[in-house]
């Protein structure tokens, strides 16, 4: 890697930590490309289902291979599924739901973890000890087991139970990160200064401490979205995730995996949804890694 060109001497200008990090992020080609890709993908997943038809079942045209279909007299870029629906349309529609679940469940988890962790860290003492021991115990309980119990208990399933099941029990690591950050900041001068001018505890936490913890939390959240999407895929594989007629990449891919048999491989049913799933998760992981490198002072390159 070549060093960035030195700024011209007359352009000496202060840069904040965030601007600095953003510059480093954009210089990381993989991360910048991933961010672009994700933006385009999100836009496509929002827009495409408005224009193409993902619902119509054409019973005469089940399992049509990608390309022009004589039976429907239509062009199916990704072929059709077991009910004769256009897979291209369903991939984009499924993307909406997969991405939505990934983002919302992550937000739920991060919100709980941030509140819990900052409370433990700020109050300290016995409260902190008890709260963190609870976290330790919950770490010992297999997470998926709890998610499955909830999904089974709920029975009739919309999207909300999935958000809840995946989000409500995944805040443990966020709580640890936030607590650690709060502990390291709460005795700094700027917090003492806030206290001496009479700021309330809540104000100190929300205005002074939490903004300082957001760096690592954002990095961790970016890496959590792909793992939530994968967990949803696992739930869908078990038949406990998204329900027909809705769909998700995980559900599409698991239907594709199920359609495999020795006589006829409907390869498109597995390939295309898996491609969407993998490229999205890849981009999210690249972006998360890039964010970590950009905002972690230890990883700063000369």
């Amino acid at each position: 890697m070549t060093a960035a060109p030195a700024p011209p001497p007359d352009a000496v200008e202060g840069r904040s930590l965030w601007q600095d990090g953003l510059r480093r992020l954009l210089r990381n080609r993989a991360a910048a490309a991933s961010a672009m890709f994700l933006l385009v993908l999100v836009a496509a997943c929002v827009a495409v289902p408005f224009f193409v038809d993902h619902k119509t079942r054409r019973t005469a045209a089940k399992f049509e291979a990608p390309g022009y279909s004589e039976k429907t007299r239509m062009f199916h870029v990704f072929g059709t599924d077991d009910l004769g629906r256009d897979l291209f349309a369903r991939c984009f529609y499924g993307g909406r739901i997969s991405l939505l679940i990934g983002v919302v469940a992550t937000l739920v988890a991060v919100a709980i973890g941030t509140v819990y962790g900052s409370l433990a860290g700020y109050v300290g003492g016995w409260t902190d000890a008890v709260m963190m021991r609870i976290v330790d115990v919950l770490y010992g309980v297999p997470y998926m087991l709890i998610v499955l119990l909830i999904m089974v208990a709920v029975g009739e399933r919309g999207l909300v139970p999935i958000f809840a099941a995946l989000g409500l029990f995944q805040w443990l690591t966020t709580a640890r990160i936030v607590r650690g950050q709060v502990l390291s900041f709460k005795n700094r001068e700027f917090v003492q200064a806030a206290r001496t001018i009479g700021s309330s505890g809540g104000r100190i936490v929300f205005r002074h401490l939490l903004p300082n913890t957001m760096g690592p939390v954002i990095v961790y959240s970016t890496l959590m979205v792909p793992s939530v999407i994968l967990q949803e895929a696992f739930l869908s594989y078990l038949g406990l995730g998204v329900q027909e007629p809705h769909t998700s990449w995980g559900l599409l891919a698991s239907e594709g995996a199920r359609a495999i048999n020795p006589i006829e491989t409907y390869w498109w049913l597995l390939t295309f949804p898996a491609l969407f799933l993998a490229s999205t998760l890849l981009a999210l992981n690249f972006l998360g890694d890039g964010l970590r490198d950009a905002f972690d002072p230890k990883g700063r390159r000369a």
Partner: protein, 306 residues
């Protein structure tokens, strides 16, 4: 060191007790009942069970009854699988999962560590980008996709392996690879990060300054520090890998722990759930202990147990 081990082993029952209590509370707090599902349990069995493990008892009495059995090594009957006890079910599944898990863990280390080291030692080379992209792909693909692709190519197209099952040597490689893939990917990423962490340390520079050959520096000096992130990951990873994977077991028809893991939750088979959690937490605590001991041996800066 010995004190640390003894100390941890003495704490093990208490840790298990707390985790079991938390699980009991969580599973009983969820709405519904194991006997309410559409799959009907035999009436007689149901009544018998209700008497001993009854819903009518409150949570604490129920839990105490369970603990009494546990002390005698009796994990209780399965609510769902008729005529089988939890001891029975786990006793036959655990050896299978341990065998497959050991193989998969070995595979993951064998692939992940060298790949990560090479990537870290040649940072920003083609090798680095290639292996890290592959590792990210390994994390980004669900197991059912990896497994399905292996089945299509190696079983259906090339006929290189049997479709599935358990008992023959030829039935091992495919499930082991599928199970190992995500772990190998994480291990590769961690060992790369580990190498980058220590490669600029003074003791590595000293070794270089002494004029030691590169291979010796890596094997004698670098590896100790660089492997630490992998070692600490191995605790939870081993616990997860040894309790099996539902997807792998279903795809390759393997009678392992992963099945019970998922089915117990779906059927709300309370005693089987607790049995599975017991195995998982025990493995987790034990492997974390092994990890801590290994840490002390690898890194002279870490002093354990005072």
């Amino acid at each position: 060191m010995l004190r640390l081990i003894l100390h941890r082993l003495l704490w093990l029952p208490l840790v298990l007790l707390v985790v079991l209590a938390a699980t009991t509370w969580l599973m009983r707090a969820a709405p519904g009942s194991p006997f309410a599902a559409e799959k009907q349990v035999d009436r007689e069995i149901q009544e018998q069970m209700l008497k001993k493990w009854g819903e009518d008892k409150n949570g604490r009495q129920w839990f105490v009854a369970y603990l009494k059995g546990l002390v005698r090594g009796d994990l209780g009957p399965s609510y769902r699988v008729q005529g089988r006890t939890v001891n029975d079910l786990l006793g036959s599944a655990l050896p299978v999962s341990l065998t497959l898990g050991l193989l998969a863990l070995f595979l993951a280390l064998l692939v992940g560590v060298p790949a990560g080291f090479l990537a870290g030692l040649r940072q920003n080379s083609l090798w680095d980008y290639g292996s890290m992209a592959l590792a990210l792909l390994g994390i980004s693909l669900p197991a059912f996709v990896v497994g399905a692709v292996l089945v299509i190519v190696l079983v259906f197209n090339w006929n290189a392996f049997p479709v599935g099952g358990w008992g023959a040597l030829s039935q091992l490689p495919l499930p082991a690879v599928t199970l190992a893939a995500p772990f190998a990917a994480v291990i590769a990423r961690l060992s790369r990060a580990g190498v980058l962490e220590v490669v600029h340390e003074d003791y590595v520079r000293t070794a270089k300054a002494k004029g030691l050959p590169k291979g010796e520096i890596v094997l004698k000096h670098l590896i100790r520090g660089a492997i630490l992130p992998v070692v600490s990951y191995l605790g939870p990873a081993a616990a997860a890998i040894f309790t099996g994977s539902f997807v792998v077991e279903k795809l390759f028809r393997i009678p392992g722990m992963g099945m019970h893991f998922v089915n117990s939750a779906i059927n709300r088979d309370y005693l089987l759930i607790l049995g599975v959690v017991l195995v998982y937490s025990t493995l987790l605590v034990l492997f974390n202990l092994v990890v801590d001991v290994a840490y002390g041996l690898l890194d002279p800066r870490v002093r354990l147990g005072k």
